[in-house]
Point group: C2
Chain length 216, copies 2
């Protein structure tokens, strides 16, 4: 293949860029309240958002990181609320332990059921997911309605996730849904406030799968 333009060597390679970024983050973040096992998650969230306030707003259930590592190493399913989360997740580190990354929101039966019940596809996709993903990780970066539905199902004893990473972004219900998540007595990672989104949710999960791999 002819790419027409001449090659000019890059001074900075992707691996170097990441290392340099992490160094800047550590320097600029300074003191923080996170544990040694939580810090890689915080670091990758800041890396994905360039937002220190967002990083500092993270809230961890005390068992969250351990539970996430355990779920990945046991080959549990990872459920993404939307495609943007699914495509961002590093699949190889999930699949090498036998797991897979699933997203249900565009499934035909989910769309039909949402229409029939006049509710959101996000909600119905969670009802479908909990049947397949007991003990799995739910990564919710976009839809507060999905997170609220999952919280409801946990409270009613119908869903038993291994870890919920819940960081939807937005002006309506997002902050409230995360406050509700932080009240649960099961492993969760979330943040306080309106900010959040797919890239930071992906970053948190990728940080955990990297720890899972390194324990091997």
């Amino acid at each position: 293949m002819d790419f027409r333009t001449e090659f000019k060597p890059l001074t900075v390679q992707p691996q170097e860029i990441e290392e340099k970024s992490f160094q800047i983050i550590t320097e600029e973040l300074g003191e923080h309240p996170f544990t040694e096992e939580q810090y890689p998650v915080v670091q990758r969230v800041i890396h994905a958002s360039a937002d220190f306030d967002l990083g500092r707003s993270l809230v961890f259930h005390p068992d969250a990181v351990k539970a996430g590592i355990q779920a990945i190493r046991s080959g549990k399913i990872v459920v993404a609320d939307v495609q943007m989360v699914q495509v961002g997740i590093s699949k190889n580190r999930i699949e090498k332990f036998g797991g897979e990354v699933k997203v249900y929101i565009s499934d035909k039966d989910v769309m039909e059921e949402a229409k029939r019940l006049n509710t959101t596809r996000a909600i119905i996709s969670i009802r479908k997911a909990i049947k397949e993903a007991e003990g799995g990780i739910f990564a919710i970066g976009n839809a507060p309605t999905a997170l609220l539905e999952l919280i409801r199902l946990v409270k009613e004893g119908e869903a038993k996730p291994g870890l919920i990473i819940g960081m939807p972004v937005g002006f309506v219900s997002a902050a409230e849904s995360k406050e509700e998540l932080a009240k649960l007595d099961i492993p969760f990672i979330t943040n306080i406030g309106r900010k959040g989104g797919s890239p930071v949710t992906v970053a948190a999960l990728n940080a955990i799968s990297l720890m899972a791999e390194r324990q091997g």
Copy 2:
């Protein structure tokens, strides 16, 4: 399909959530320097990030919005730098005018060439894209190296995009790449600083495609 749990009517439907969000954004943003045609882009960027500072940091070439609308209505290709940008873009409003959304970064020939030249896939994917996408829209939300390469090709007269939406996020080269973009005398939308990312890049493009559709 049996979803096992009873239906509970939602008080807030997706359309209502969006309208209420836009209302909050307009109220809280207050005075701003943007034109009437730029404002929908700013509004959707804030909606996607819950970050008013990021919204206020947007910089538009004076012809940017018009050029973007024109490109979409002429059925030009939209090039996404990464899959996370591609999956977020509302395809129907691109395709109804004959356009399509493409991403080259995982193409086999791009991967091979990047390896051969010891450079990033992002750079090689841009070299491939400019051949197919003359007059098209480049939506770059992740890779500063892709944006820098595109800027170089524009300066050398090898690339003639209709619009560049360039909002990579990060600590190394991201802010610098956007400063370079803002110096070009072709239509661009970018922002000042480290923040940015796939969702805000998608939001800017979706705002423009919505305007393109409404002009019809």
